[in-house]
């Protein structure tokens, strides 16, 4: 892993890199991809062998079991022959048992050997899987770096094509501030307007209640004039 980090670092900090240059050369990537492929192939082969070996082990284990049962059975026979004082028959049975025990020892040996192989194959597969995961992470690192660079170049080009540079931070800040001011002004204006409107509403209520600013109406004026005349 560290080698990829190093390479990327060197490439990125070098500063001599032209826009569009690959960070890690295509050959390097191809080597990674080949190693991933090889490891995958190895895993496939190892898995196939593993199934075979496991099947053979199961066979041998079953034989051991069968032989054990047979041995127990024959031991029973031998005991019965001895009980009948039939020494010759017992000896025959004992001979058979000895044969079976040798056979069983041989099969048990096979089981042990195959167990060893299974462990080995499993370790092999694990190692290859770890290698693949590592390489894939490394590849992702390189590919992401390249994608981001390409994306950035496209964005810069695209913005340039629309006759502007990527916004300078200062200009962006100015625009944001202006917009915030405008928003605040609008809010303030809204508050003032709302206050006026609500005042108007209050006036209307006061008027309706006859408390405030009753409007002059003709009959009231006429009444006043008449009252003036008479006085």
């Amino acid at each position: 892993m560290s080698s990829v980090f190093d390479k990327l670092w060197t490439a990125l900090r070098g500063g001599v890199r032209e826009i569009g240059d690959a960070v890690v050369d295509a050959n390097g990537i191809r080597i990674f991809e080949q190693e991933i492929k090889d490891a995958s192939d190895n895993i496939a082969i190892a898995k196939k062998s593993l199934t075979e070996v496991m099947a053979r082990k199961m066979q041998a284990a079953r034989k051991v079991e069968e032989l054990t049962k047979s041995i127990q059975q024959n031991e029973g026979f031998a005991e019965k022959a001895l009980a009948q004082n039939n020494e010759t028959l017992a000896l025959d049975v004992a001979g058979k048992i000895a044969e079976m025990e040798n056979d069983r020892a041989e099969q048990a040996g096979i089981v042990a050997r195959l167990d060893g192989q299974i462990e080995q194959l499993k370790a092999h597969i694990k190692k290859a899987e770890k290698l693949i995961a590592d390489h894939e992470r490394e590849l992702a690192l390189v590919r992401t770096t390249e994608s981001v660079q390409k994306a950035t170049e496209q964005v810069v080009e695209n913005v340039a094509a629309n006759n502007s540079a990527l916004n300078s931070a200062r200009e962006s800040l100015e625009r944001i501030k202006k917009r915030q001011e405008m928003k605040q002004d609008r809010l303030a204006a809204g508050d003032i307007l709302a206050a006026e409107l609500s005042d108007g509403g209050l006036d209307a209520k006061l008027e309706a209640a006859g408390i405030k600013g009753a409007k002059a109406d003709a009959s009231a004026v006429l009444a006043r004039i008449k009252a003036g005349k008479s006085s």
């Binding site: 992401t144 994608s147 981001v148 994306a151 964005v155 300078s168 200062r170």
Partner: protein, 135 residues
């Protein structure tokens, strides 16, 4: 291709926490989608999908816009801020200071929207925070 295209179509019709999204695909060999988050649209977000992740990037400023005598301070400040900033991180890409967020390619639409809105807000805050370092 499909994923970004799909995203463009979906985002256009969404209202997420009061924000809408204005999407514009950017031409080129690398798939890039420009996203403007309403109310926070001064700094566009550029979304690009790689083998392993979806990257959302906003460009804060070019290295040249930073005062020479303040550059080291800015770098340190950004590193110190990085962990606290929700969902986003600072970085430098091709001489641009950026704020970015990375998502798994399997992220839900809700996750993506959350990411975009948070990133846009972070970028605004970051821009204000780096003002003192600018030329």
């Amino acid at each position: 291709m499909n994923q970004l295209h799909e995203l463009t179509c979906t985002l256009g019709e969404i209202n997420f926490e009061g924000h809408t999204f204005n999407c514009l695909p950017i031409k080129g060999s690398q798939q890039v989608l420009q996203v403007l988050v309403s109310e926070l649209d001064e700094l566009p977000i550029y979304v690009t999908i790689t083998d392993t992740q979806m990257l959302c990037i906003t460009y804060l400023c070019h290295k040249n816009e930073v005062r020479d005598d303040k550059r080291a301070d800015l770098n340190t400040s950004m590193l110190e801020m990085n962990v606290a900033m929700p969902l986003s991180s600072f970085a430098i890409v091709e001489d641009y200071y950026v704020v970015f967020g990375a998502l798994a390619t399997t992220s839900s639409l809700n996750d993506i929207c959350k990411e975009l809105v948070t990133l846009a807000a972070n970028a605004y805050d970051a821009l204000e925070a780096i003002e003192e370092f600018l030329n």
